[in-house]
């Protein structure tokens, strides 16, 4: 196994086995096996329509699997409700920054604070010192410490992406899933995002979908190439890039 530190990780935090989803006979994900280790930044790449986003949808419960299993830390995700999956420790960032535009940065982060998640809990939720500290800490982490009281809609595109990552960090997930986190970012923002990912991947696993190869190189511990719903190749970035099958899929046509 190519775990980053070179040691044999005990048990993957996420184990996807035989995963299949079929939309009217079209198998967007076909008998897929994919493992994410603890403390690993695992990047999934692949041509358009390879089923990358569908895999994330399946893990977080947005799409239901036709067959197969998704084991997350001993729990079977395919049967769980979306909010239970989140509460179990899986955070997911969407492709387009999905934040609450008319709330402030502070309020956006506060919304994701893992307390007051039920009806009456939310009704009587209080902004305690603990909440404020956590929000400020995460805001620092995502480089928005100076923008806490700015309305989210006024942030730049890159800052919005960071804010959404911050909203996930509020829940301190064990597995963080990011769908094209640097799409539409400037070069300097990409570098900052790579640093951010390297920082926040300490103590948790990150599953990333990305097109930008430079960015992938700077963050990935392991790369999986998806093609037509199946794993085409897996390994380090260099190994994958020199794999003839991968070259064929990306450049061959």
């Amino acid at each position: 196994m190519n775990s980053p530190a070179g040691f044999q990780a005990a048990k993957p935090v996420l184990a996807i086995e035989g995963l299949t989803v079929s939309f009217d006979g079209f198998k967007a994900v076909n008998d897929l096996n994919l493992y994410v280790d603890r403390n690993e930044v695992h990047v999934v790449i692949g041509p358009n329509g390879a089923g990358k986003t569908t895999v994330l949808d399946l893990i977080c419960g947005k799409t239901r699997a036709t067959a197969g299993s998704i084991d997350f830390d001993g729990r079977e995700l395919t049967k769980m409700r979306e909010y239970d999956i989140v509460r179990a420790g899986v955070g997911r960032k969407f492709q387009n920054p999905s934040i609450y535009e008319n709330l402030t940065v502070f309020e956006n982060l506060e919304m994701s604070y893992p307390a007051g998640r039920k009806v009456f809990g939310a009704l009587f939720f209080k902004r305690t010192q603990e909440v404020i500290e956590r929000v400020e800490q995460v805001a620092q982490e995502i480089m928005l410490g100076d923008h806490l009281h700015r309305q989210a809609e006024l942030l730049s595109h890159g800052q919005k992406q960071w804010l959404e990552i911050g909203m996930l960090l509020m829940q301190d997930p064990q597995l963080l899933m990011l769908d094209e986190p640097v799409a539409g970012m400037s070069v300097s923002e990409r570098v900052a995002t790579a640093d951010l990912l390297n920082r926040i991947s300490q103590g948790r696993s990150v599953l990333v979908i990305e097109h930008d190869m430079e960015f992938v190189k700077s963050i990935a511990h392991r790369v999986t190439v998806l093609h037509q719903g199946k794993v085409l190749a897996e390994g380090s970035m260099e190994a994958v890039q020199s794999n003839p099958k991968v070259i064929e899929v990306y450049l061959g046509h």
Binding site: C60, R87, F94, K118, L123
Partner: protein, 389 residues
């Protein structure tokens, strides 16, 4: 200020707005209007309960219920059943073939009080039922719809269908419900004659006070994290769901709160008007109630009250003068409001009224228009106004 109190009053501006409304309905109307007109305003205010609930459900929760008449009617019928039983004591109904049961039952050859009616001998049961019955139905509808992610226009259509079904059911079960005439000829509440001018005045004040209570509860909900979640769900439902929230449970909750308010409104309607009939349950009244909220501003609790008052004043005036035109006018009003003033009167007030006030207060000077974000957030201080990098 105490934070909970602050939440209830909605800050300084909210407190002033509420005080003005309270002064209007608790002082100005009772002093300025005769008993007949005041009773009419009291009737309008019972619709305002529904409109306030709609602000929560529709304005904040994004749930457009076109069937609030269901809950208004259920609350109203619960109250009417109690009053009818009291009005049907054996002494007064001795000419019936079965004395002691409501007159319409006797006309329908029913010889025994139906089981459904029995608990309504008790006032405390009735008062609880006024709230609980609508809430239970809302809970069932809510669970059936929102857990399955039925939303938007489909939800509206289903609520409308339920309103129609309930009307048909009430009309069809004449012996049980009084049919199309409804439950009429209500006289006393625990021996207190509700038809006297004095009783009507007291009921008016009770109704107004309850309405203010409902507004305070709604404010508390809106100001809580739940209120922010509702707004967040309206725009980014997926994000909320994938932040670990059970979106359906929040929708069910506000829908139930809206139903409870409507039920209280219905009961106060029955008490003040003296009867309840299926014509307050069906599709047309339900849509009218949505129009009250839309005209007042679907994001403004106080606006909803003004909307209910204004549209009903208009309705009374126009339907006296041009009865056949009224429905078209109402439809036209709804379209104009939705298309051009999506935030209703409250929105107009926010965008124009306040500026005029400010202009009057200050000597004319260069009017600094704050950037749109500041208008939208209202009271929030804006330490940084520089443009985004």
């Amino acid at each position: 200020m105490n934070p909970t109190l602050d939440k209830l009053l909605g800050g300084k501006q909210g407190a002033i707005g509420l005080a003005l409304l309270a002064a209007l309905i608790l002082v100005v109307f009772p002093l300025a209007l005769d008993a007949f007109r005041l009773n009419m305003v009291g009737k309008y205010l019972t619709y305002a309960f529904v409109a306030v609930g709609l602000v929560l459900c529709w304005g904040y929760g994004g749930i457009l219920s076109l069937g609030q008449g269901i809950f208004f009617g259920l609350g109203g019928y619960c109250m009417a059943m109690f009053l009818k039983l009291e009005a049907s004591d054996p002494e007064r109904t001795k000419i019936q073939s079965t004395p002691g049961i409501p007159d319409f039952m006797d006309w329908n050859q029913i010889t025994e009080l139906p089981l459904l009616w029995e608990p309504f001998h008790s006032l405390s049961f009735t008062l609880i039922a006024v709230v609980v019955v609508p809430v239970l139905l809302a809970l069932v509808i809510g669970i059936a719809m929102f857990k399955r992610r039925v939303g938007d226009v489909y939800f509206s259509i289903v609520t409308q269908a339920i309103a129609l079904i309930l009307t048909v059911l009430i009309i069809g079960q004449q012996g049980l419900t009084g049919g199309v005439n409804g439950i009429t000829d209500l006289r006393t509440l625990k021996g207190w004659d509700i038809r006297s001018d004095e009783a009507k005045l007291i009921l008016y004040f009770v109704s107004a006070a309850l309405l203010i209570g409902c507004i305070l509860i709604a404010r508390f909900i809106i100001a809580s994290k739940l209120g922010r979640l509702l707004l967040a769900m309206r725009d980014k439902e997926e994000r909320v769901r994938f932040s670990g929230y059970d979106v359906a449970s929040f929708k069910i909750f506000v829908f139930c709160v809206g139903a409870a308010f409507a039920g209280i409104g219905g009961a106060m309607f029955t008490l003040q008007v003296g009867f309840m009939s299926p014509s307050f349950v069906g599709i047309v009244p339900s849509i009218e109630m949505v129009i009250f909220a839309a005209v007042g501003g679907r994001l403004s609790l106080l606006g909803a009250v003004y909307g209910a008052l204004l549209v009903n004043f208009g309705k009374t005036y126009f339907s006296e003068s041009f009865p056949e035109l009224w429905l078209y006018l109402m439809g036209g009003l709804f379209i104009v409001v939705v298309m051009y003033f999506p935030n209703g009167l409250a929105g107009l007030w926010d965008s124009h009224g306040k500026r005029c006030l400010a202009r009057l207060r200050r000597k004319p000077q260069v009017l600094v228009t704050p950037p749109p974000a500041v208008i939208a957030t209202g009271k929030r201080p804006t330490p940084e106004l520089e443009t985004t990098p």
